[in-house]
Structures are given as structure tokens and as C-alpha cells.
């Protein structure tokens, strides 16, 4: 009788530990998955490693260190100054990784300049509680224009189905979580349609020419990780469709008629500047990284009033 009791009790502690472990794991996983920025950091970091190790980029470790160091330092400066949520370092890390993926420069100082401009733009160029420019984009555009020492290599990714799979797969996962996949998809669709019409129907190139252009890793990265930045896209879904279609058209025109090979970047900078007008015209709820994200903006009542903490 006595023996039986012990037997009955014994399994419980073990089960309890197991349960606790499972719960801790689950909580960690849920905590990780709740913020799409975690995925973004993992994927962008993965792309950077892939570029350096498999694609033979001439990206040096100290360059990445300077970019990431400067973005984080600038972010922490503003966190302290404005008393923001410390978790916003994740946004700065994403910007830093984005810059490491895209921007090349002759000196480390130029890279540091780009990184600090990028982060500072988030806090200094704002409209109604929302920053206007995609920070990485702002840093790149200004540095390329001002220093003459920085450049983008649109060919660095090459082309290939495997890239399409990697970038689109990773990108859509991040985007599904934040509900802004529409921007990337609309951009790619319109851009490809324009290219098909001109290259195939008008000029008479084969389909492989359009395909080769669309498979460009830089373009895909742009479509899935840059233009989709939820903080700088218009809030209303309809506005986003128009906005991304406009980016595609401007980028196509610049690339085709002016031979600007980095046209999407410039088009995005232009249209970002117009985002406040889209927001005024179409309304919509502002995005927040930490709120239970409005999936395709179906829960517009949340976080209508932006707070400093969310920058």
C-alpha cells in the first residue's frame, strides 16, 4: 500500500519538469515568433553570410562591424535621448544588415556616415509620428549622392532560381507576419508586366531576357525586404497598391530610358517622400512591430495613436 503510493507519486515530478521545459521552449519560440524582426535579422544575416562565403563578395568583416556598430550606437543614442523602448535595437540591426548587403564604399568612414544618416533619419525626418524614409535606403541614397565614394553593385547576387526561392521564401515569411506582402508582390508584378510588354512585345527579345532581369537577386531582395518595410509604406492597403505600382513604374522608366541600373532604389526614395500624402488621402492604421499585428489591416483600432516607444 505504502509502496504503491510512492510509485504513484514518482512519475509526477519528472513529468512536471518535462512540462516546464516544454512550456519554456514554447514561450521562447512564441516570443521569438511574435516579433517579425527576429526573422528578418536571421534572414538578412543569413544572406550576408551567403554573399560573403558562397558568392565571393569583397565584404570585409570590419566593414560589417563598422556598419552594425554605427547603426546600433546611433539607435542607442536616440533611445536614451528620447527614452524609447530598448527593444528598438532590433530595427537598427535590420537597417545595419540591409546596409551591409547593399552598400559598398571606398572607406569605412563613408560606411559609418551612411549608417548614422540612416538611423538619424528615422528620428529626424518624421510626419505625424511616422518616419518617412526607409532608413537604410535614406543612408544609401544620401551617401551615394554626397560622397562619390559609395556605390551599389546590382549584379552582386547574380541570377538563378535558387535565389528566387531563397529570397522569396524568406521574404514572404517575414512579410506574412507583418502583413505588407502586398507591396512586394504588386511591385514585382507591375515591374515584370512593364518589362514583358517592352522587352518581349515591343522590342522582340525572348522571354529569357525578362526572366533574367526578374531573377536578379538585388531586385528580389529589394522587393521582399526593402519596399515592404511596414514603417514606411502607406497604412491603407489600397494606398499601398497604388504606391508600389508607382515605384515599379518610376523604376522601370529610369532603368529603361535613363539606364540607371539601381533605379528601384531611387524610385523608392522618391515614393517614400510621398508616403505622407498617401496616408492623408487613404488613412489606415499605423503599423507597430509589437502589437498583435493587424493582418492585412483588419484590426485598425489598435495603436491608432503612435507612441514614442514604437519608433
Amino acid at each position: 500500500m505504502f509502496q504503491k503510493k510512492i510509485e504513484a507519486i514518482e512519475p509526477h515530478p519528472a513529468k512536471g519538469v518535462q512540462q516546464l521545459r516544454t512550456t519554456v521552449m514554447q514561450e521562447r519560440i512564441t516570443a521569438f515568433a511574435r516579433d517579425a524582426r527576429h526573422f528578418q535579422i536571421v534572414f538578412l544575416g543569413g544572406f550576408l553570410l551567403f554573399g560573403i562565403l558562397a558568392l565571393d563578395w569583397s565584404r570585409r568583416a570590419e566593414e560589417v562591424a563598422v556598419i552594425l556598430g554605427t547603426t546600433l550606437a546611433t539607435q542607442f543614442f536616440f533611445i536614451r535621448r528620447l527614452g524609447l523602448d530598448i527593444r528598438s535595437w532590433k530595427s537598427a540591426a535590420i537597417t545595419g544588415l540591409g546596409l551591409s548587403l547593399l552598400l559598398h564604399a571606398g572607406s569605412l568612414v563613408t560606411l559609418a556616415l551612411a549608417a548614422s544618416l540612416a538611423i538619424a533619419s528615422k528620428f529626424l525626418i518624421r510626419d505625424r509620428g511616422k518616419h518617412i524614409f526607409n532608413p537604410g535606403l535614406f543612408g544609401i541614397v544620401l551617401t551615394v549622392l554626397l560622397t562619390g565614394d559609395a556605390w551599389i553593385s546590382p549584379g552582386q547576387w547574380g541570377t538563378g532560381p535558387i535565389l528566387l526561392f531563397l529570397i522569396a521564401g524568406a521574404g514572404s515569411m517575414v512579410l506574412l507576419r507583418v502583413g505588407r506582402i502586398d507591396t512586394g508582390v504588386v511591385f514585382l508584378t507591375v515591374y515584370m508586366a512593364l518589362d514583358l510588354v517592352r522587352s518581349m512585345l515591343y522590342l522582340g527579345w525572348g522571354f529569357d531576357v525578362t526572366l533574367h532581369r526578374m531573377m536578379n537577386g538585388s531586385l528580389l531582395l529589394f522587393a521582399f525586404f526593402m519596399i515592404t518595410d511596414p514603417m514606411t509604406t502607406p497604412n491603407a492597403p489600397r494606398a499601398r497598391v497604388l504606391w508600389s505600382a508607382a515605384i515599379a513604374m518610376v523604376a522601370f522608366a529610369m532603368g529603361t530610358f535613363a539606364y540607371v541600373h539601381t533605379a528601384p532604389i531611387w524610385a523608392l526614395a522618391l515614393l517614400c517622400a510621398l508616403t505622407p500624402f498617401f496616408d492623408r488621402a487613404f488613412g489606415g492604421a499605423r503599423f507597430s512591430w509589437l502589437a498583435p499585428a493587424p493582418f492585412h489591416d483588419r484590426a485598425p483600432t489598435l495603436n491608432v495613436e503612435p507612441t514614442l516607444q514604437e519608433r
Binding site: T30, A54, S153, L176, W205, R213, F295
Partner: protein, 487 residues
């Protein structure tokens, strides 16, 4: 020990560089190694482009003819002929190089280092011919915009309304165009390109006493910075090599619609590579080209070559540096001005292309990237003399492992079968005293008992890593989505 010597010799080189171009010339992997090749000098200065095409036409020169799409109707002054020598100078100066170093004998208290160099790589073009003008317009829709005589060449600038007419005109006028050319004539015509059409005048050529076709240089202003490679593409599978010698004021030239990759450089290779350096480089290039998916542009050289600039121009130099006049002949017209003519940055790109892997023409951009690069391979001669002292035995041991690494490198770089080169290691082993010899660790090379080793490269591993990341992410995604909906 050998590492110290390497540094010693490099330092020596740096010290000398300002005064003298270094080293003896040993061997080079020059452009002539590659069949079916073309060479192009591409100068970009603002909106100006100057293209020089080497016409190393294989066959009877009377059959030579060439069609090149150009963005504008060229003026007579925009076309000139340059000497073939310009290509040779640029090729030999920028080609991949083999360098030699000598180890000192550690048993004798002096060190001696010297370096030699070897190397380079090459390119090609297409063909056509001409006749009357009003007929051209009426029957073919082809307009002869201009007609020039330039040296031994007859040049026409054509514009066309549609590809069939142009194609018929070209064929009827004895310009042989590749069978796939029709695919691209229409796009070129509709993009507003003109056609620069060249034929040879045999009589004039003979009168001038030239045996070979001299390169033609054209200059024009256009936003387009590209090479129309599609027109000359033979068929879907065949590959062609092209070497581009690019010059800018700012820095390197990069392809924008294909990847630009660097050749492996500064690798130590076994001594016996010296006799077969050309073959080595060819194999190395082929391997790299395959490894990068056969659709990349390869960087072979990038250097500031400004004539008045006193920095080190190469390490070591394969040939004498081009003289300012040679730059000017190549189209780098600002290089002739010694005072404030501006920087001259030289980029050498090697493209092996095929219709299948290069659907688009090659577009380039000028970047401010002035980082120097050269494809360089290193030979190290062993120390000579009696090596029986303690330090000498240490040296031999190091030499043994170094040679094992060189063999391994050779296999990895060029894919050569190294199993027949066991003697390269045995030479060193023999000189070691028996107890040292027996204490040598296995090298892992195929002829060692250990056998060869394999394993996926870092790229493959990384791809696998990223795939698994995505898989992990994909696993969590549905859960978090549903979690959110219930919340």
C-alpha cells in the same frame, strides 16, 4: 621560416617599386591561350565611351566583315585605327601572373629573396560586307547614314526599319551574320541602335603593306555603357571568351546584370606548375567559371595605372607598364597629359559566355572602387645546399608540409591529378634524417596512406544552412499566425 622569407621578399619589392619594375619575366597566361576569343578595350569617361575592337580574324582576310551595333551615327573623326601592339601591351601587363620566390638556406646565415613573374589571358569578333544606297533604302528599308574609308577598312553606318530587310541586306552584301542574329536585330533596331558595318579593302591593305587586320576604335556619347555580345553569339551551347580592358577615371568597372567574381589569387602552387602555367591558368579559369554557374564575369586585374602616379603598379609586373602614348592609343585620351590629366584606373575582365547563360547584353557601371587586385600565383624554390643542421631539418619539415599544401591547392584550384606527383614530397622526405622522416604526419593527399578527403564546400554548407533556417521558420509560421487570430 618560409613565411618570414615571403615577407622579406615582399618588403624588398615594395621598396624597389617606385624606382624599378620588378623582377624577371618567367611566364604568363596570356590572351592567346583561349580559342574563339575577342579582346576589347573599353574606355568610359562621363557619357563618353571609346571601344577598340581587336580583329584577330581567323581565316582569309578577304572574308573579313564585321557588324557592331552603336548608339549613334558616328562621325568620321570618331573612327580610327590603332596598332595591334596596344592590345599586346595591355594584355601582357594585366594578365594573371606567376611569381617565384627563393627560400634561403637556414644553415647559412644570410637570406636572399628574389622574385620572378609569369603570365596572362585573351578575346574575338564577327564579320560582314557592303554596296549601294538608294537601293538599300527602297528594297531593304536600310539607310546608309554614312560611308567612310578608314585605313584598310570600308565603313558604313546603317540604320534600319526592320530586321528582315537588314538581314537580307547584310546577306546580299556578303556580310555573314550568325544564324541566331535575327533574334537580336529587331530589338537593336527598335532600341534605336545604328549598325557600324566594316569590310576590308584588300587592295588598300596590300598597298599599305599590312598583313594583319588592325584594331578599329570608335567613340560616341551615350548613357549606355554596354557591350552588345548577343549579336556575335554563335549558338546556344558554344562558348566564347572575351577579355575586356576597361579604363575609367574613377575606379573599377563592374558588370551590373551579371555577377563580377574574382579569380582566386595569391595561392602557392608547386614548382612544376612553372612549365605549364598557361595550362594551369586555363584549367583554373574553367573550374572557376563552372563553379560560379557559367554566368559570371571574372575580374583578373584592377589597378591604378595613372602614368604620373608613383605607387606600386603591380607585384610583380608581367610586362613593362604601358607608356602614356599607349594609353592614348587605347582611347584613354586624358592619360597623355602628365600634369593633372587625371587618374587612370585599369580593370581587366574575362567573360566566357554562351547564348544559354548570357541572355542579356553586358551592361557595366563605373564604381569609385579603387581597391587593387591581381590574379597572382606563387612558386617558392627550396633552399639549396647542406640542410643537415637542426634549423635545416626544421626547415625541411616545414617545406614538406608546405609542399603538401601546394599539391592540395593545385588539385583544388585547377583540378589536376596530383597522385602522380608523389615525388614532389618524396624529394623533401629523403633529405630528412630517418627519425624525423618517420615522425612526419600524414598529409591526407591521395598517395598518402590516409587517402584523399572530400566534403561539401562552404557554399554548399551555407545553402544547406539557409534552407534549414527557412524550414525552421516555416514550421513556426503557421503556429504564430493561428495564435494571432485566436488572440
Amino acid at each position: 621560416m618560409n613565411i618570414n622569407l615571403q615577407f622579406a621578399s615582399l618588403a624588398l619589392l615594395a621598396a624597389n617599386s617606385a624606382s624599378a619594375f620588378c623582377g624577371f619575366y618567367v611566364a604568363k597566361a596570356d590572351a592567346t591561350l583561349f580559342n574563339d576569343r575577342s579582346e576589347v578595350i573599353l574606355v568610359r569617361d562621363g557619357r563618353r565611351t571609346i571601344i577598340t575592337m581587336s580583329n584577330d580574324f581567323q581565316g582569309d582576310v578577304k572574308d573579313f566583315a564585321m557588324v557592331v551595333p552603336v548608339p549613334t551615327v558616328l562621325d568620321r573623326n570618331d573612327i580610327r585605327i590603332v596598332e595591334r601592339r596596344v592590345f599586346d601591351v595591355l594584355d601582357s601587363y594585366s594578365s594573371p601572373r606567376l611569381v617565384e620566390y627563393y627560400d634561403g638556406n637556414p644553415c647559412i646565415q644570410w637570406e636572399y629573396a628574389e622574385e620572378l613573374d609569369v603570365m596572362r589571358v585573351p578575346m574575338a569578333a564577327e564579320a560582314m560586307a557592303d554596296k549601294a544606297s538608294t537601293r538599300a533604302r527602297r528594297e531593304y528599308g536600310v539607310t546608309i547614314e554614312a560611308r567612310y574609308t578608314v585605313g584598310e577598312y570600308d565603313v558604313l553606318i546603317l540604320s534600319a526599319q526592320e530586321s528582315n530587310g537588314l538581314k537580307r541586306w547584310l546577306l546580299d552584301n556578303d556580310y555573314q551574320i550568325p544564324s541566331t542574329a535575327h533574334e537580336v536585330l529587331d530589338p537593336y533596331i527598335k532600341s534605336g541602335l545604328k549598325f557600324f558595318v566594316v569590310k576590308i579593302d584588300l587592295e588598300r591593305m596590300q598597298a599599305q603593306g599590312f598583313e594583319f587586320l588592325r584594331p578599329i576604335q570608335v567613340r560616341f556619347e551615350s548613357e549606355k555603357f554596354m557591350l552588345p555580345i548577343r549579336l556575335g553569339m554563335a549558338n546556344s551551347k558554344g562558348t566564347q571568351d572575351m577579355i575586356v580592358y576597361a579604363f575609367t577615371r574613377e575606379g573599377r568597372v563592374d558588370a551590373v546584370n551579371y555577377r563580377t567574381v574574382r579569380m582566386p589569387t595569391d595561392r602557392k602552387v608547386p614548382l612544376f606548375v612553372k612549365e605549364r602555367f598557361g595550362e594551369f591558368y586555363k584549367d583554373l579559369f574553367k573550374r572557376k567559371w563552372k563553379q560560379e554557374g557559367r554566368n559570371a564575369v571574372t575580374l583578373e586585374y584592377a589597378w591604378n595605372v595613372t602614368p604620373s602616379w608613383n605607387g606600386m603598379k603591380c607585384d610583380p609586373c608581367v610586362g613593362p607598364p604601358p607608356m602614356p602614348q599607349e594609353f592614348v592609343d587605347a582611347g584613354v585620351d586624358w592619360a597623355g597629359n602628365w600634369n593633372g590629366g587625371g587618374q587612370v584606373f585599369f580593370t581587366r575582365l574575362h567573360v566566357r559566355y554562351s547564348r544559354e547563360k548570357f541572355p542579356q547584353d553586358l551592361f557595366f557601371q563605373v564604381t569609385p572602387n579603387t581597391e587593387h587586385y591581381q590574379a597572382r600565383y606563387v612558386l617558392t624554390h627550396p633552399a639549396q645546399g647542406d640542410l643537415s643542421c637542426e634549423a635545416g631539418q626544421d626547415y625541411l619539415e616545414e617545406l614538406y608540409y608546405r609542399r603538401a599544401m601546394e599539391l592540395d591547392e593545385l588539385h583544388a584550384l585547377a583540378g589536376w591529378d596530383i597522385s602522380q606527383h608523389a615525388g614532389y614530397l618524396a624529394d623533401v622526405r629523403r633529405k630528412l634524417v630517418p627519425e624525423r622522416r618517420n615522425a612526419l604526419e600524414p598529409t591526407g593527399l591521395p598517395f598518402d596512406q590516409d587517402g584523399g578527403k572530400g566534403g561539401p564546400g562552404s557554399g554548399t554548407m551555407l545553402l544547406l544552412g539557409i534552407f534549414s533556417l527557412i524550414a525552421v521558420g516555416a514550421y513556426f509560421l503557421p503556429r504564430s499566425l493561428t495564435g494571432r487570430h485566436t488572440a
